[in-house]
Symmetry: D2
Subunit: 90 residues, 4 copies
Amino acid sequence: MHGYRSNKDDLLRRLKKIEGQIRGIQKMIEEDRYCVDILAQLAAVKAATNKVGLSLIDSHTRGCVANAIQEGDGSKHIEELLEVIRIFTK
Amino acid sequence: MHGYRSNKDDLLRRLKKIEGQIRGIQKMIEEDRYCVDILAQLAAVKAATNKVGLSLIDSHTRGCVANAIQEGDGSKHIEELLEVIRIFTK
Amino acid sequence: MHGYRSNKDDLLRRLKKIEGQIRGIQKMIEEDRYCVDILAQLAAVKAATNKVGLSLIDSHTRGCVANAIQEGDGSKHIEELLEVIRIFTK
Amino acid sequence: MHGYRSNKDDLLRRLKKIEGQIRGIQKMIEEDRYCVDILAQLAAVKAATNKVGLSLIDSHTRGCVANAIQEGDGSKHIEELLEVIRIFTK
């Protein structure tokens, strides 16, 4: 149903990797590792999260939003989409 | 024609204001004003530019993109839209 | 030693929470939840990661960077700090 | 005095360019140009503004902040610097 259905496995794989990175950062802090190295890892998590978000926005637009527009019921979906974009560009 | 036609005056007014802010920042630098005050102005320009961008993305989605989808020709427009979102979330 | 030593527990607690959020997002995808709700959670992770990063930049600047500057050896540390800021403002 | 004094000309040149880009965008809107082309220009302004900001943060840290730290008076300056970084990473 949802636009992301066809790339569910890919999304899950990427989120699993982000989860591992977050655990790695916790370990770095426990081991008193150098702040700059930890920050580089955090920036990587931020970028990876952004990419997963863009991928979801992509499939959502092609799926749910495009369908709703075709059925003449796009207004609410476009509103929602723009709200999400607003959050992600902050 | 374009989605932004109905709020052209609003967009121009906001861009005029940003132009004035950029000139104000040049004056601050010429007058050797404090860096932090200049940075606050630059952050304001960045935020204002982002808002104009979101406003254009809004009217573009409701206009050009929605029209193309309704005419069964949405694919290229969605691709373009997502490319623009990608640039703006970086 | 490191600037973040005094707030290690706070950082770990926040990272644990982010890890939980990432796992929650995976569950949402497995359960075919609505894309926009998933995106809202992803945006929350992005914001939380950014806040942990800023907190580390804060303690790093007050700790390592300030120490190095006081010992007349700040140049390399400032270079590193700015590189990290550059990555985080992208 | 200020950290940015030595690259004042470079900063002014870049701000002049941004000012020209903003004027160009106004012209594009007046001429009903395609939204996506306008958005590409806006993204360029956002990126250029960010770069000027990073350049100012750079010279400010090496100048004012480093001086204040060396004189044992860094606390207020570091606080200010972090506030600026916070605004720029939003």
